[in-house]
């Protein structure tokens, strides 16, 4: 290090120290936050098992974090060691399934949003005697894979329910924001809204770029002045859409899919009209628990049919009941 660099580091360190002494925030922050109550209860005395949860999630996505929490809660209760992995690329996800087979897990919970890529390896797992459950995506294809159960929502039906809701709310023109171009589930939601509502236009944005998403939604609302509802397909995009509507000087209202801590706040104070919850916690929980029940008691949740976890509408009327769970990160 040369002299000026040393000086800069020293100055920086000194500044941090000085500021740290008298810069405590009077509001917010960790000190302000109350710890949510911990979970108690007993752990099952069945033999220790190893279950793999393999999703198509991009890293760092709040929705999938909630799925994982649910799965972990079930694993803890059932004396299961949970191995979580994910890859948004179809071939990559299929390979993770193979890895789970190789490491001789006792069960696999998997998403089938890229069915063509992943199902061949799921069949291999089934052939190897490993029970497989499907969650979140793959409603049309999970039975062909040989899986013992499906936990998720029918995206088309969720979209249709949203379409009905929009009709009841008196909407006239809806912008449906797709944050992952080419994702089958997201397309199905927008299509479902279109089925029941009609005047729907899709808009593609990059979900991993919030400011860019905001600029794109703003420009759409400036272009189409007739749009009076923006429906986002995840919580992060919905909150961005709120800002975008403000920027565009548009009076368009915001509806959304999925919950989060921030979303609960937005629904409560009315900046987001409603959220369609598919209960991701439940998806993760049931997908793992179903494996345990199958291994220990030969049960199949859903009795060979899909178990739907949504859609449930959350708006001002019922947000109170959901809010504390959303804040704790399980809704």
């Amino acid at each position: 290090m040369v002299r000026w660099q040393k000086k800069a580091v020293a100055a920086g360190a000194a500044l941090v120290l000085v500021a740290a002494l008298g810069a405590c925030s009077s509001s917010g922050g960790k000190k302000d936050e109350e710890k949510a109550g911990g979970s108690g209860g007993n752990v099952a005395n069945t033999p220790r098992m190893k279950v793999a949860l393999i999703t198509h999630s991009k890293p760092g996505d709040t929705f999938w974090d909630i799925v994982r929490r649910g799965a972990e809660a079930a694993a803890q209760k059932d004396n299961i060691e949970l191995q979580y992995s994910s890859d948004p690329d179809g071939a990559g996800q299929a390979n993770l399934v193979q890895t789970a087979i190789d490491s001789k897990v006792d069960g696999i919970a998997v998403t089938l949003n890229k069915p063509d890529a992943v199902i061949p390896n799921v069949k291999k797992a089934v052939a190897a005697g490993i029970p497989v459950t499907v969650l979140n995506g793959g409603l049309d294809t999970w039975k062909t894979s040989g899986a013992i159960g499906y936990f998720g929502q029918d995206e088309r039906i969720a979209g249709q329910a949203t379409g009905e809701k929009l009709k009841a709310l008196g909407a006239k023109k809806v912008i449906c924001v797709i944050h992952e171009q080419g994702n089958v589930s997201l397309e199905a939601r927008c299509q479902g809204i279109k089925d029941k509502f009609g005047a729907v236009e899709n808009l593609n944005v990059d979900g991993a770029d919030q400011p860019g998403t905001q600029a794109t939604i703003t420009s759409k609302l400036q272009q189409d002045k007739t749009a009076d509802y923006v429906v986002a397909l995840n919580a992060g995009v919905a909150l961005t859409a709120v800002q975008a509507a403000k920027d565009a000087g548009s009076s368009a209202k915001i509806g959304s899919f999925d919950m989060s801590k921030e979303m609960a706040k937005a629904v409560k104070d009315g900046t987001v009209d409603f959220a369609v919850d598919q209960q991701p916690y439940l998806q993760g929980y049931l997908a793992v628990d179903a494996i345990w029940l199958n291994k220990t008691n030969g049960d199949t949740i859903g009795g060979g049919e899909a178990t739907l976890t949504g859609p449930a509408f959350i708006d001002k009327t019922n947000i109170e009941a959901v809010e504390k769970y959303a804040t704790a990160g399980t809704r």
Binding site: V2, Q5, G12, L15, V16, A19, A20, A23, C24, S25, S26, S27, G28, G29, K30, K31, D32, E33, K58, P59, G60, D61, T62, W64, D65, I178, Q181, N202, L203, N204, D206, A208, D209, Q210, P211, G212, Q214, A215, T216, T218, S219, K220, Q222, Q223, D224, G236, L239, T240, Q243, D247, A248, G249, S260, K261, E262, G329
Partner: protein
Amino acid sequence: MASTITTPDTVDDRVSTRSVGVRLLSRPEIGSLVGAAVILLFFAATAAPFRDINNVGTILYGAALIGVMAVPVALLMIGGEFDLSAGVAVTTAGLTAGIFAYQFSVNVWLGMVVSLAVALAVGAFNGWLLMRTGLPSFLVTLGTFFILQGLNIAVTRLTSGAVASNSVGDMDGFSSAHAVFASQFKLGGITVKIIIVWWIVFVAVAAWFLLRTKVGNWIFAVGGDAAAARAVGVPVKKVKIGLFMTVGFFAWFTGMHLLFAQNGVVQSGEGVGKEFLYIIAAVVGGCLLTGGYGSVVGAAVGALIFGMVQLGVVYAGWNPDWFKAFLGVMLLLATIVNLVVKKKAEAR
């Protein structure tokens, strides 16, 4: 922004014989300016909302989001290196400030100071490792890219228990920081986000710095031929480390915008892929991928082209399925116009 193109006031005898027009045409950014004009006319003709003066603010905002980072990325490319970690470094900066302030319940500004130190350290690390090992910047910064991407998610989960940072929106210092990094004001019907103003300031300062200072000359020298530059006494190592630290500084700035424009919450998975947009802006703006040539103003025009195309497609109301394809065609178009103009200029 084009106003920052200035003619030197101390006239060098080798250029004084050429006309102003020829000199202007031989600037690296001139091709991109023509490209920008073509794109502007195209969308003005095909998309009615694009012509609405009130929407200018939105387009400029889209451009500024890339443009601010394109400033140091262009400087770095002129200096002969590039930085693949620039996209996630922005997220790292935003997360660091948010997480630090939240975890220690301190004023947000303190979190920002810590974040600045981290961002500069990341840049210094990139530069130091590059100079120390002699590896290509592609490899070094690819490594940093993965490290930061992993740290962003892992540290966020360790501290907040989730993959998004805890909100600092209600903490001390948030409103003043918001005013600096993410506020907006009205200017004759146009909503101007403050980051646009910062962007223009940064471009002006960096362009002046590059063209009028000794260090600016050094940047061209190390990018053109590092060995020759070293032979004439240019401190190559210092210049390169300094350039990477400049990227760090701007990543910090953009990260602060990210944090304060989103009510104090940052998603830890963001920023992946943005590094290419910064590089694209610099290249469309006339920077050579091999170094030693280019301009900051050009990179700004490159970002403007990207912003115009990205939002122009939406303003035109085209079928969104075609969005990425339109974007690609338009960028190629702009780059080709750029190339043709530059060839013409060089032929004179």
